[in-house]
Amino acid sequence: MSETEEMGETVAIESLPLDAWHRARGARMVEFAGYHMPIQYDGIMAEHLWTRDNAGLFDVSHMGQLVFSGEGAAEALEALVPGDISALKPGRMRYSLLLADDGGILDDLMITNTGHGLYMVVNGAVKWDDIAHLREHLPDEIEMNLLDEQALLALQGPKAAAALAALGVVPEFPDILPVDRLVFMQAGPYLWGDVRLGISRSGYTGEDGFEISVPASDVAAFADALCAQDAVKPIGLGARDSLRLEAGLPLYGHDLDEGIDPVEGDLAFAISKRRREEGGFPGAARILGHLADGSPRKRVGLTIDGKMPVREGAKIFDGNSEVGVVTSGGFAPSVGAPIAMGYVPTGLSEPGTALAAEVRGKRVAVTVTPMPFVPHRYVRKQGG
């Protein structure tokens, strides 16, 4: 017993800035991406539904926050991702993909033009690999810094904007919009008292909401102030996963990996128009070929006949032929039924296609379905 404990300590699982805060609020902690993370507080179902109706606060400080600076940083990054980064205006952000030489996806990420440089958020589980890849491939004159003194929160749900505005968060500069006037995929610098915040209107739940970069030293006070409001509750990783699945958003390491290219992953929107014309990103030949002629397989949504969840790893069949695999699946609280996503041959990817999935040796009828499963509620335009 003591031996196991000692071994456990040598595999260092790190604690994030809000570790004690989560535990004090009754979170059940699990190891995820090398960190102790809250999987749930009250229960995944209640937290999921709370976020869809109110506002949920997620700690995503395990993700990597990187800043790139130096002349030509945008052009240099374009050698590694298929997005039009040089066209990104200050205060705007874009979803993109870090690509391997053969066009396989190394990670999915967000890039923001802060006006002073490029700010990137990458997945926690692969951030050290990403950093090594970026450093190896970027020219020496492009500086890359990991913001390891910054926590990252996501505030998601229909009451998120009001909750954030109620804290008295103000723009840092006169030309920056009030935080509740930002639209989806817009970002800026803000102040909460004298605490500097980087805020974007974005997230990964399908709801309206914000992602907030906060100095680690201030994050507990900031999270307390948010959760002091009736509309805001802390939400764990479990509900984060079920929310993003309903929103049709892929999770790296499950729905995306190095063997999958952007067209197969149904992420062709991340390949900007200019880049399609010019190429010049890793795997451009394969990816542009797939764009023109279709890819052999594609990520699709699946609805499930009956109540039995179909989970990651379940094989997909067309008649007696095994044709694909489920990459994410589970019970969808807002749908009230199991849902899944997975890969099937493009010829079988049309919505309405009837297939079957195998669970514990039994076949379950599944149907290809357009995603999202629950409509996105992003604020794309400010009224008035």
């Binding site: 999987i39 229960g43 996963d241 039995m308 969840p309 019970f331």
Partner: protein
């Protein structure tokens, strides 16, 4: 009617040669919201420690093991419609299945209520 417990967090109520099996309140609390339960078919032959049922929470599927050898006489059909019974009444209405006992001496290796309470206190 004596109730026994396993280290895999099943309870077993014994009434003569027939037993009722479910998962404990501690187990349902660990699993969280139950969204699906697969109970064994009537007539299924179970062997102690082997797979008997599956319980699925939002997050994951977990196996429920047979606490003793025996034959299934009934699965709890109510769980098909209302799997959340396992959360609300795990040691009552949320029972999983009934079975005959092939070897009552296997009960000797199981815990009583106090022993199980001590067992989970140490987890």
């Amino acid at each position: 009617m004596p109730r026994f417990y396993t280290e895999e967090h099943e309870w077993i109520d014994v009434d003569g040669d027939v037993a009722t099996v479910g998962i404990t309140d501690f187990a349902q609390g660990q699993l969280g919201d139950i969204v699906f339960v697969e109970v064994p078919d009537t007539g299924a032959e179970l062997s102690k420690g082997g797979d008997a049922a599956v319980v699925e929470s939002v997050k994951a599927a977990s196996d429920v093991y047979a606490p003793v050898d025996g034959t299934v006489t009934e699965g709890n059909g109510q769980l098909e419609e209302d799997p959340a019974l396992v959360n609300s009444d795990p040691e009552g209405e949320g029972w999983f299945f009934r079975m005959t006992l092939s070897d009552k001496s296997q009960l000797d290796g199981l815990m009583n209520a106090q022993a199980y309470k001590d067992f989970i206190a140490d987890l």
